[in-house]
Amino acid sequence: EGERYVLVSHAPDSDSWWNTIKNGVALAGEQMGVEVEYRNPPTGDLADMARIIEQAAASGPDGIITTLADYDVLSGPISDAISSGVDVIIINSGSPDQARELGALMYVGQPEYDAGFAAGQRAAGDGIGSFLCVNHYINSPSSTERCQGFADGLGVELGNQMIDSGQDPAEIKNKVLAYLSANPETEAVLTLGPTSADPTILALEENGMAGDIYFGTFDLGEEIVKGLKSGVINWGIDQQPFLQAYLPVIVLANYHRYGVLPGNNINSGPGFVTADGLTKVEEFAGEYR
C-alpha cells in the first residue's frame, strides 16, 4: 500500500494523446491505492526529460514508468535509476530489446517505426503508391519515424511527402489543401494524431476528397472517431495509450506487493481501428482512448 510511481513522458504539456496516458495512470493509481505522478518536459525537449528522470529517481519512488524516445539521451538516467533500486517499465517508444538491455522490468507499447511500417504495408496492400504525411510535430524524432516507417512499408522514398505542418489548425488545413492541389496525384494521407487529423478532415471535406482519398491516422480522438464512422478515415492506428499507462502501474504494484511479474512484454496495440465496433472508442476518445 502507498507505493509511489512516477510516469515520465517525452511529450510537451499540451499534447492530447499523452493526456490519455495521464488519465490512465491516474485511474490505475486510484484503483490500486498507489500514489502516481505524471511528469513531462514542458517543451518536449528530451534533454529536459533526462533531468526529470534523474529527479524522479532522486525522489526515491518505488517505480518509474518512462518512454524511451531517444536511447542515447535517456539510457544513462534510466540505468542509474535502475541501479539505485528503482524498478522501471518502458512504455510507448523504444523497443523491447532496448528495454531489456537497460534492465527494465518490461516493455509496454509499440515502437513508432514498426507501427508506421505495418501501416505502410497495409496501405501497400490496399494498392497505395504515394502519400502525404502531415507532420505537426517535426522536431520530435518519433513523429518522423512514423512517416519514415510508413514510407518504408509502402516501399517508397519519403522525400517531400512529409510536410512540416505546424500546429495551428488553419495552417494545417490550408497546407494540406495546398499540397493536395499542387500534387493532385497523391493517393493517401497519413496524419499523426488529432492535432493534424482534425484539420485534415476539414480540408478533405472542403476540397471534396473526403471519402475519396485513402486516409489513415495514428492515435484516436473525437473527430477521428467520427471520421472513421463516416468513412472519411479508412483506419486509425491505436496503440491504446491507456494500457501503456494503466498496465505498468498494475504490474508494478502487484510486483511490489506479491512479487508476481508477467513473463513477456505487452503489446498494447491491437493495431488498426476501423469503422467496426467504435462505440466504446467513441465514448472515451481523448479521455481513455
Binding site: D13, N160, M162, I163, A170, A182, G208, E222
Partner: protein, 373 residues
C-alpha cells in the same frame, strides 16, 4: 517675426531630391514592394501548381487573413509603443474558455463567446495596467502572461474534462445566432452561380461532385478585412489615431501635450486582446474544438508581419495597411512554398531571410521620410 531667413524656400545646404522619390516613399512602400516581389516570384515558379486558381487563392487568403487579424492588433499596439508577447497564449486561452463554457458547462454559445471576449479584454487591460503602473517594459510583463495564460490553458481542460482538446463545439453552436458571425461563410449563392456558369471550377469527384470548389467566403476573411479597415481609419483619420502615434513616439511629450497616454496604451492592449479573441473564436467555430496548444508562437508571427509591414519596433511609426501587406506576404510565402514544392523545413529559413530583408528596406525608407539619423 521676419528676421528668420534661415528657413527660406531654397536651402543651399540640401542637395536635391526628386519628386517621384518623394511621392513614393511612404510607410507601406516596403510592404508594397515585398508584395509585388512575392507575387511575381510565385507567378513565375508556381503558376501551374494551382496556387492561383479559385481554390488556391482562397487557400492563401485564409492563412493571410489569420495573420492579418492578429497583425492589426499588434500593429496598433506597436505604434503605441508597446508590444504583447502573450497574443499566442491568449489565442489558446480564449479558445479554451469558449469550449469550457459551451461544452463543459453547456451554456449557450453566444454567452460563452461574449463572456470570453469580456474576460480576455480584461486580461489585456490588466497587461496594460501593469505595464503603465510599474513602468516595466512590456516585453517582460507580457512574457509573464505568455507563461501564465498557457499554463491555465493546459490546466483548465485537464482539470475539468481530463482532456487537452475539447471538441463538440460545432454541435453546441448549432442554431446559435452569434456563432456564424465567426465560423460561417458568406456569398454562398454567388459562388454557386459562378460554379454553374463555369467561371470557377466545380468538384469532379468525391461527395461534393458538381458543387463549386469554393462555396463562400469564410467570415475569417471578413473579420480580417473589417479589422484592417477599422484599424487604418482609426489610425489615420481620427484624433485617437494621432494619440496612438503620439503615445508611441514619446509618451512623456504626448502626456505633456494633453494626450491621455495611459488610456491610449491600455486601450491598445485591450484591442490586441480583442483581436486575439476574434482569431480564437473564428478558429474554434470553424474547427469545432479547442486545444491547449493553439496559438503557439503566434505572437512572433504577428510581430513579424507588423515589422515586415514597416512599423517601428520601438513605436511611433507604422501603418495598418503595411501590417496587412506584411501578413499577406507571410501567408503567401508560407503557402506558396508548398505549391512550389520547396522542402518545408526551409520555410523558416525563408521567413528569417525575408524578415531581415524587409526590415532593412523599411529602415531605409523610414529614414528618408522622417529625417531620423
Amino acid at each position: 517675426m521676419t528676421g528668420s531667413t534661415q528657413t527660406g524656400i531654397a536651402d543651399e545646404r540640401i542637395k536635391e531630391t526628386s519628386f517621384i522619390r518623394k511621392a513614393l516613399i511612404r510607410p507601406e512602400l516596403g510592404g508594397i514592394v515585398g508584395t509585388i516581389a512575392v507575387f511575381t516570384f510565385f507567378l513565375l515558379t508556381a503558376a501551374d501548381s494551382g496556387m492561383f486558381n479559385t481554390q488556391g487563392i482562397l487557400n492563401w487568403s485564409v492563412v493571410s487573413a489569420q495573420f492579418m487579424i492578429i497583425a492589426v492588433g499588434a500593429c496598433l499596439l506597436m505604434i503605441a509603443g508597446e508590444f504583447d508577447l502573450s497574443v499566442g497564449s491568449m489565442i489558446g486561452f480564449a479558445g479554451m474558455l469558449i469550449a469550457i463554457f459551451s461544452v463543459t458547462l453547456s451554456w449557450p454559445v453566444w454567452v460563452a463567446i461574449l463572456l470570453t471576449f469580456a474576460i480576455c479584454i480584461a486580461i489585456g487591460a490588466l497587461n496594460g495596467f501593469i505595464v503603465i503602473r510599474t513602468g516595466l517594459p512590456s516585453f517582460i510583463v507580457t512574457l509573464a502572461f505568455l507563461f501564465i495564460l498557457r499554463g491555465f490553458t493546459i490546466f483548465f481542460p485537464q482539470t475539468f474534462e481530463r482532456k487537452t482538446i475539447i471538441g463538440g463545439i460545432k454541435e453546441a453552436a448549432e442554431g446559435d445566432w452569434l456563432a456564424p458571425v465567426f465560423g460561417g461563410k458568406i456569398g454562398g449563392p454567388i459562388f454557386t452561380w459562378l460554379g454553374d456558369v463555369g467561371i470557377i471550377d466545380v468538384f469532379e469527384r468525391g461527395t461534393r461532385a458538381g458543387e463549386p470548389v469554393v462555396d463562400g467566403i469564410p467570415m475569417l476573411i471578413v473579420w480580417a478585412l473589417g479589422l484592417v479597415i477599422f484599424g487604418h481609419v482609426l489610425l489615420t483619420r481620427t484624433r485617437f489615431g494621432n494619440w496612438i502615434f503620439a503615445a508611441g513616439g514619446d509618451a512623456e511629450a504626448a502626456r505633456n501635450s494633453g494626450v491621455p497616454v495611459t488610456k491610449v496604451k491600455i486601450q491598445m492592449f485591450m484591442f490586441t486582446a480583442f483581436c486575439a479573441t476574434v482569431f480564437a473564436t473564428c478558429q474554434v467555430m470553424e474547427f469545432g474544438s479547442a486545444g491547449a496548444d493553439r496559438g503557439l508562437l503566434k505572437e512572433f508571427e504577428a510581430i513579424i508581419a507588423v515589422v515586415i509591414g514597416g512599423a517601428l519596433l520601438t513605436g511611433g511609426y507604422g501603418s495598418v495597411i503595411g501590417a496587412a501587406l506584411g501578413a499577406l506576404i507571410f501567408g503567401v510565402v508560407q503557402q506558396g512554398l508548398f505549391f512550389a514544392g520547396v522542402e518545408s523545413s526551409l520555410f523558416r529559413v525563408f521567413l528569417g531571410a525575408i524578415l531581415l530583408g524587409a526590415v532593412i528596406l523599411n529602415t531605409y525608407i523610414r529614414r528618408l521620410i522622417t529625417g531620423e539619423r
